[in-house]
Amino acid sequence: MKFGIVRFPGSCDDVDALQAATRVGDAVLLWHADHDLQGVDAVIVPGGFSYGDYLRAGAIARFAPVMVQVEEFARAGGLVLGICNGFQVLCEAGLLPGALLPNLSLKFLFRQVELEVVRGVGPFTGACETGERLSIPVKHTTGRFYAPDHELDRLEANGQVMLRYTRGNNPNGSLRDIAGVCSEFRNVFGLMPHPEHAVDPLRGSVDGLKIFESMRAHVEQHVLA
C-alpha cells in the first residue's frame, strides 16, 4: 500500500501527512509540477496555504499540473483524501460537492474538536463505528462548509456526509455541522479536521489514525487483492 502526498508550494502539513501515512503503509511526496503519481494506491492532498491562498483557498492549486493526474485517478475510482487546504482544493476541482467559506469568526482557529462518525462504512471511515466520537484538531480560517439547502438534502440522502462536529463543537459555522463529505462514488473524501495530527499518543489523540487505517484496509481488500 503506497500513499502519495501532493506537495504544492505553500503546503505546510505535507510532511505531517507523510509521517502519518507511513504509520500504516509506504508514502511518497508528489511534486506539484510533475504529471506523475508514481504508481501510488491513494493520493492525499494535504493542509497548508497552497500558492499562499491569497486569491481564494485552493483556487490556484486546483490548476497545478499534478492535479490533472489526480483528477484522472479519482475519476477512475482511486482513493483521494483532502485534508483542510486539500479539501478546499478538491472542492475547487469539482471532485467534491459544496464549498468552504471563511469561518463565521473571520479568524484563524486552532482547537481540538469532537467529531461524530455519521457512517462507519466505506474507504475512509470503514475502521470506525457509526456514531463513534473522534477527537481531532482543526486549524483554519476558511472551513465553513456550505452548499445550497437542496444540495445538502441530497448529500444527506445519498449518505455522503461522513463526519459531523458534535453538538457545541462546530468551530466555523459549517452548515448542518458537516466536517467531512465524500463524493458520489465515495472514493474522494474531504474534511477540515486534521487526522494526520491525531496519530500519536504523545501528541494527545490517535483517533485520526483510523482514517488512514480505513484507507489501507480498503485498498488491500479492493484494489491490491
Binding site: 508550494p9 505553500g10 496555504f49 499562499g52 486552532f110 500519536d200
Partner: protein, 708 residues
C-alpha cells in the same frame, strides 16, 4: 572640518546622524560622502544596526558555554543538543513598526526572525511571541493593536507552516503608545548544515534570492526604530514593510535545499537596512569587499534611486555567496522552488563595499567604516530622583474577601487565560509539539515582566532568567542557552541608561549563576512617547533540552489523593505584584532578594523529579502568587485541592522563578514541604478561601475573552 560645513550640509541630521558623527564620517572617509553613501552610513550607524548605546554594555553578558556552537554576531545563536543536531534561536523586536501598523509590523517581525534562523541553516520549528500593550479595558487603541498584532503573527506563522508554541502578553499603561512585539524563533539543524554569514573567496559570486526590491521600509531602521514615537506617525506607515509568507515559505525550502546540496559559501538575510546591512555584515565577517551592480537587482518599481535600492527593507530576501562553478546548480534549485535568483555582484579583496549603477560607481565605502567605525557611546546612568511611573487606577479596594481577590486576579488581563489569543495560532504543524499552550510550562520559554523591572531593574531582570529556567524545570528540561531582547526607552536619558545598565547587570549575574550563556539577541531603544518611557522590558528566551518527550511534565494536578508540595525558597512580597497593580499601587520598591546559586539547585531538583516521574505535575509560582498557581494547577487538571499554606506566607505575594507547586505520590515528595492533597471539586486554602474549580475556570477564561 570647519563648523560652517555643517550649516551648509544638514542632510545628515535629517538622516538621524549627529554633527559629531558626521564629522567622524568625514574624517574616516577623508572626504564628504555622496548621498548614497550617507544614506548607507546613517543606517549602519543607527542604534538599530550599530548598537552604539548598548554594545559596550552587552559585553557584560556571559557568552561562553560548552553547548555553544554559534554565539552573538551571527544571524542567530546555536547550541548543541546532542545526536549531531543543533538548535538555533533568537528573539527580535518589531516594536516601532507594530505601533504604526500592527498587522504588518507583527507579521514581518515573525518573517524577519524566521529568516534569521534559516539563514544559519536551521529549519524553523517553533515561534514564540512576547507582546506588550496598554490597558485593554480602558483603551480602544490597545485592543486594536492587540487584535491586529495577533492576527498578523498568525497570518505569517500559520501560512508558512511554523508552529507558534507559546508566548506571553502583558498589559500596562506605559505601553499605550509604544506597544512591544518581540518574536522568538527556534530552528533545528544537523551540525553540518550550520552556516555563517561571512563572505569569502575573491571572485565568488553574490546572488540575491527572493522577493523583488521595492520602496517599502525605506529608512525603517533609522526613521522608526531609532527615534521616539510622536505625533504624525501615520505618515511613517510607508516605512513599514509588507509581509508575504508564501514567498518566504518557498525561500525557506529553497535555502535549506541549497545548503543540503552544499551549494553556498555563506548566507545572510536582508533585514533592517536591507542590502546595505546584509552586504556590509557579510563582507565584514569575512574581511573581504563586495561589488554590487544595482542594475542587476529586480525592482518592483523601475525608477528607484540607487540609495533606495540600497536601503530598501522589502521582505523575503536573502543574500548568498557561491562559488562560480556552483551558480548553475544554484539557479536550478531556485527555479524548481520558483524563487527569483539573480547574480548581483562578486566578492573582492578590496575591503570596500562598492556599488555600481549604470556603469558608474555610486558608492565606495570601506567596510570597516560601515561596521567598525560606528561610534560607541558610554551611557551616563543615574538613578531617577523621583518615581518614573504613575499609579495605575485601582480596580479593587483591598478590603474584599480573599476569594474575591483570587477571582479578580484570575480574571485580570495579565493573568487570564490566553486561549482567545493562542487559538488564532497553529501550534501543531510539523508534528513536533508534545505539549500545547495551557498544558505545561515549556522546553522553550519566554519571559519578562516590565512592571517588576520598573520597580527594581537589577532583580527584575534576573527574575526573567529565573522564571524561564523554572518553566523549563517544570517540563524536565535543562537550560542550554538564552537569547534576549532589551526593550527600553531613550538611552540618552540618564534614568533610562540606569535602568538599562542595572538590568544588564541583573541578567549577567543570573546567567552566570545558572551557567546559561547568552548566544544572541537584540536591543530596542527609544521606546518612548511624549507621556514617558515604557517599563524597562528585558525579554528573555531560553531553550532547554528534554531527554524524553514522553516524560514532558504537565502543570495540572493529575490524580486524586496525590500530595501537593511547595518547593523552593519562597519569600514573596507585594512589591510589583499583580495584586499591587489591581490595588492601584505604583511600581516602586525593592523586589525580594534571591540566592541564585541555591535557586539553581532547586531548579535542578525539580527537573530531576519531573524526569523521573516522582512529580506528576509541576508549576512555577509567578504572577498572582501561590494562590493563583494553585488555581492554575486545579484548572489545568480539572481537579480540586485542599491545602494549608505555611504560616505567614502572603498568598498573593510574588517572587517569580523561586518556587513551585508540585504534586505526586507522597513518597516522591519526601523532603519537601507538603501543604495539601489533590481531590474534590474545590480549591480549599485553609483559613483563607474555598472556590469551585468551575468558578476559577470561569474567571480565568472570561478575563481576556471579553476584551479580544
Amino acid at each position: 572640518m570647519s563648523s560652517s560645513t555643517y550649516s551648509l550640509d544638514e542632510r545628515h541630521r535629517q538622516l538621524g546622524l549627529t554633527d559629531g558623527e558626521y564629522a567622524r564620517i568625514l574624517e574616516r572617509l577623508g572626504r564628504a560622502p555622496n548621498d548614497v553613501e550617507l544614506a548607507m552610513l546613517s543606517l549602519m550607524w543607527s542604534e538599530h544596526c550599530g548598537y552604539k548605546h548598548s554594545r559596550r554594555l552587552l559585553r557584560r553578558l556571559p557568552k561562553e558555554g560548552r553547548h555553544v556552537l554559534m554565539g552573538p554576531g551571527e544571524n542567530a545563536g546555536a547550541v548543541d543538543v546532542g545526536g549531531g543536531l543543533a538548535v538555533a534561536f533568537k528573539v527580535e523586536s518589531h516594536n516601532h513598526p507594530s505601533a504604526v501598523e500592527p498587522f504588518q509590523g507583527a507579521a514581518t517581525g515573525v518573517g524577519g526572525i524566521l529568516r534569521d534562523v534559516f539563514a544559519v541553516g536551521a529549519r524553523p520549528v517553533a515561534v514564540l511571541d512576547s507582546l506588550r500593550f496598554g490597558e485593554p479595558s480602558s483603551s480602544q487603541r490597545s485592543r486594536y493593536l492587540l487584535d491586529q498584532a495577533v492576527a498578523g503573527i498568525g497570518h505569517y506563522g500559520n501560512s508558512i507552516g511554523v508552529p507558534t508554541v507559546g508566548g506571553e502578553i502583558y498589559f500596562e499603561s506605559s505601553y499605550e503608545q509604544n506597544c512591544l512585539v518581540n518574536a522568538m524563533c527556534l530552528g533545528l539543524a544537523p551540525h553540518a548544515r550550520l552556516i555563517r554569514s561571512a563572505a569569502a573567496g575573491a571572485g565568488n559570486v553574490v546572488v540575491l534570492l527572493g522577493a523583488l526590491t521595492g520602496r517599502d521600509g525605506i529608512g525603517g531602521a533609522s526613521v522608526l526604530a531609532s527615534a521616539e514615537l510622536g505625533e504624525g506617525d501615520e505618515a511613517k506607515r510607508p516605512s513599514v514593510q509588507i509581509g508575504d509568507p508564501f514567498t518566504e515559505k518557498k525561500l525557506l525550502e529553497c535555502c535549506l535545499e541549497l545548503l543540503d546540496r552544499e551549494l553556498l559559501v555563506s548566507l545572510q538575510d536582508l533585514g533592517a537596512a536591507g542590502l546595505t546591512s546584509a552586504a556590509s555584515e557579510m563582507a565584514s565577517g569575512g574581511g573581504v569587499g563586495l561589488t554590487i551592480d544595482l542594475c542587476q537587482i529586480p525592482l518592483r518599481e523601475a525608477d528607484m534611486e540607487p540609495f533606495e535600492i540600497m536601503v530598501s527593507e522589502s521582505q523575503e530576501r536573502m543574500l548568498c555567496v557561491a562559488r562560480p562553478e556552483s551558480v548553475g546548480a544554484l539557479l536550478d534549485v531556485c527555479e524548481r522552488w520558483e524563487v527569483l535568483a539573480t547574480t548581483i555582484g562578486c566578492v573582492t579583496d578590496s575591503g570596500s563595499l562598492q556599488v555600481l549603477h549604470r556603469g558608474n560607481v555610486v558608492a565606495d565605502v570601506p567596510v570597516s567604516v560601515l561596521i567598525d567605525d560606528c561610534p560607541l557611546y558610554d551611557l551616563q546612568p543615574e538613578p531617577p530622583s523621583s518615581d518614573l511611573y504613575s499609579s495605575p487606577g485601582a480596580v479593587i479596594s483591598g478590603n474584599e474577601p480573599p476569594a474575591d481577590t483570587l477571582l479578580a486576579l484570575l480574571g485580570s488581563a495579565n493573568v487570564a487565560s490566553r486561549r482567545p489569543v493562542f487559538e488564532q495560532y497553529d501550534p501543531i504543524v510539523q508534528s513536533r509539539t508534545v505539549r500545547r499552550p495551557d498544558e505545561a510550562d515549556a522546553a522553550v520559554s519566554i519571559a519578562g515582566n516590565g512592571r517588576r523591572v520598573a520597580c527594581d531593574p537589577r532583580r527584575g531582570a534576573a527574575e526573567a532568567v529565573y522564571e524561564c529556567s523554572a518553566n523549563l524545570a517544570c517540563v524536565g528540561a535543562e537550560p542550554l542557552g538564552l537569547t534576549n531582547c532589551l526593550n527600553f526607552g531613550n538611552p540618552e536619558k540618564p534614568h533610562v541608561a540606569w535602568q538599562l545598565t542595572e538590568a544588564v547587570e541583573g541578567l549577567a549575574q543570573a546567567c552566570e549563576a545558572f551557567g546559561v550563556p547568552v548566544v544572541g539577541g537584540n536591543v530596542s531603544l527609544y521606546n518612548e512617547a511624549p507621556t514617558g518611557p515604557i517599563f524597562p522590558t528585558p525579554v528573555v528566551g531560553m531553550v532547554g533540552k528534554l531527554p524524553s518527550a514522553a516524560r514532558a511534565g504537565r502543570m495540572g494536578f493529575a490524580r486524586v489523593g496525590d500530595a501537593i508540595a511547595l518547593v523552593g525558597p519562597f519569600e514573596p512580597s507585594s512589591v510589583g505584584s499583580e495584586l499591587a497593580k489591581l490595588r492601584g499601587q505604583a511600581p516602586v520598591g525593592e523586589l525580594p532578594a534571591a540566592d541564585a546559586g541555591a535557586l539553581r539547585v532547586v531548579h535542578e531538583a525539580v527537573r530531576a523529579r519531573v524526569r523521573s516521574g516522582a512529580f506528576r505535575s509541576a508549576h512555577d509560582i509567578a504572577e498572582g502568587g501561590v494562590a493563583v498557581a494553585l488555581a492554575e494547577c486545579c484548572i489545568a487538571g480539572g481537579l480540586g485541592a485542599s491545602v494549608r499554606l505555611p504560616r505567614g506566607l502572603d498568598p498573593f505575594g510574588e517572587a517569580p522563578g523561586r518556587a513551585f507547586i508540585v504534586s505526586g505520590p507522597a513518597e516522591g515528595l519526601a523532603g519537601f514541604v507538603v501543604i495539601g492533597e489533590v481531590g474534590g471539586e474545590e480549591l480549599r486554602i485553609e483559613d483563607l478561601l474555598e472556590l469551585a474549580v468551575s468558578e476559577l475556570r470561569e474567571a480565568r477564561d472570561g478575563g481576556l475573552a471579553e476584551l479580544v
